[in-house]
């Protein structure tokens, strides 16, 4: 029967090494992946928005296509590509970028890198579409004037494009943050949380607590509120930062 345990579950969080590790991992994914992806999709969309670009729709199609795959299917693809003797290591050895294969899936550091590469592959094109449609609304004459004044394309990007796209950047950042906080399908299917729980995320830990270990719904629910808490705090923070600038 249900029983009120007060703050026991909350106190347990602070002494739970698995929780602390999955919290840390989730934050590493968040802090590295979201900015990299947002910046990459911003650069891609401003390239695609350049005047007189050839093969524009072809590039756009290619970069958007990863969004069509299911999370499970693409995770499995990445798992097979990043295996020790797999295609990625073969390529890196063949081009002499590395002299020894990288232990993508079995090393704590590289396993995180693999997950980050995978998520970035899947979602960059998705975010790019938001930026592209927002860029259509920017008055072309602003860039025309900047060019006349001799402003370099890099400066145009940082001082015209980025400020004008601020609301969309905010929106995509908040959405990506909430998405990454709930990261589950990729880690389950690429690394299964391994090696030694080094890619275990909060969502995966909640799943394990409820359905893999001896079910403990009460404590699992407490962990899930940690996600709610951070989603709310980070969203508010991002809105505040966007307002100040």
């Amino acid at each position: 029967m249900m029983q009120f345990v007060g703050f026991d579950n909350v106190l347990r969080l602070f002494n739970d090494p698995f929780f602390l590790k999955s919290l840390k991992n989730t934050f590493i994914f968040l802090v590295v992946q979201v900015p990299v992806m947002i910046l990459l999709s911003l650069i891609l969309s401003s390239c695609l928005n350049a005047p007189n670009l050839k093969f524009r729709s072809l590039f756009r199609l290619a970069i958007f296509l990863p969004c069509v795959t299911s999370l499970v299917a693409y995770s499995i693809l990445f798992k097979s590509m990043f295996s020790y003797e797999g295609i990625i290591n073969s390529f890196l050895m063949w081009t002499h970028i590395v002299s020894e294969p990288i232990p993508w899936l079995s090393d704590p550091f590289w396993a995180k890198v693999t997950i980050i590469i995978a998520i970035t592959w899947r979602w960059t094109g998705y975010n790019m579409i938001f930026f592209l449609s927002a860029m259509q609304n920017i008055d072309k004459s602003i860039y025309e004037a900047a060019r006349m004044e001799g402003v370099s394309p890099t400066k145009q990007f940082f001082f015209i494009t980025v400020p004008l796209l601020k609301p969309v950047i905010l929106f995509t950042t908040v959405m990506s943050t909430i998405g990454t906080l709930q990261l589950f399908d990729e880690v389950v299917n690429i690394t299964a949380g391994g090696p030694a729980n080094e890619t275990m995320t909060l969502s995966m830990y909640i799943y394990n607590l409820s359905f893999k270990f001896v079910p403990n719904f009460g404590y699992a629910a407490t962990v899930s509120y940690v996600i709610v808490f951070f989603a709310a705090v980070l969203a508010i923070m991002q809105f505040k930062i966007a307002k100040d600038k």
Partner: protein, 270 residues
């Protein structure tokens, strides 16, 4: 050689490299479905002759037809029901005026901010109490009242010519008939975009079906793929055939309705 030309060349290079990176896993998936597991693990990236062998070994291990049917059934039923219910709600919120309307709507929108991770345990216990665990109904029920789709329809209904409703009412047409025969035909493109959002979400669902489905004969393609690839020595030859099967329907939907697809995936509201 002026700087402008160099910049342009770099831009084309960047776009080409990125497009290749985006496309390569698709190529890898198709090529690998024709190779043996050993070749895949060694990174062979040319076509082999193992496609039929892989297909027949996959169908020995799992009932492909049944799994495909389970996944399609869930995706199609939940898409149709979601479109009906959520579009009605979106229509209602925009067309019928009341004092509490905006407050209810605000509360509804706020629920979008709650991550699924926080909902899955209460939902699971709810399904257990309703004795729906291990049924397809349990997979579909939590998805059919989609706040996002309600929001999407309400936004799009703002552009719907309300005079049509008034004119029909003057003619004595009943409200449900206005919705069915005036609203739905006019909003065709909105329905198409919403169809894609819901269909993709349902076809790609993993965590929730994983929680509620236990019987092998009820499982969807993502669950089967995930358990095949988590084996100690995964047979990637047959798994790649599976990923092709899992990806083809969504690719087909994408190429058939590209414009609505992009509009739907990004929920863009004109």
């Amino acid at each position: 050689m002026d700087k402008n030309k160099l910049n342009r060349a770099l831009m084309y290079l960047f776009l080409s490299v990125f497009s290749l990176i985006s496309l390569f896993p698709f190529y890898w998936m198709v090529v690998s479905s024709t190779n043996t597991a050993t070749d895949i693990n060694k990174g062979k990236f040319s076509f082999g002759d193992q496609l039929f062998a892989n297909i027949s070994r996959l169908s020995e291990q799992v009932d492909l037809g049944l799994i495909f049917w389970n996944t399609s059934k869930i995706a199609i039923i939940s898409t149709l029901v979601t479109l009906l219910i959520s579009s009605m709600a979106g229509y209602g919120f925009e067309v019928y005026k009341s004092k509490v309307r905006d407050r209810v709507y605000g509360a509804l929108l706020l629920t979008m901010m709650i991550p699924f991770a926080a909902l899955m345990i209460p939902l699971f216990t709810l399904m257990a109490k309703a004795q729906l665990l291990d049924t397809h109904a349990a997979v579909m029920l939590p998805t059919i009242a989609s706040v996002f789709i309600v929001f999407y329809f309400r936004q799009c209904t703002k552009a719907f010519p309300h005079e049509l409703i008034d004119a029909a009412r003057v003619d004595g047409v009943k409200d449900w008939k206005i919705y069915l025969f005036v609203y739905i035909p006019v909003m065709k493109t909105t329905y198409a975009a919403a169809f894609i959002i819901v269909f993709m979400t349902s076809w790609n669902a993993f965590l929730w079906p994983l929680i509620v489905l236990q019987s092998a004969e009820l499982k969807t393609i993502n669950l089967v793929l995930s358990s095949l690839s988590s084996a100690y020595f995964p047979d990637f030859g047959i798994i790649m055939v599976g990923t092709v099967i899992a990806t083809l329907p969504t690719l087909a939907v994408f190429f058939a309705m590209q414009k609505q697809f992009v509009a739907g995936m990004t929920g863009s509201v004109k």
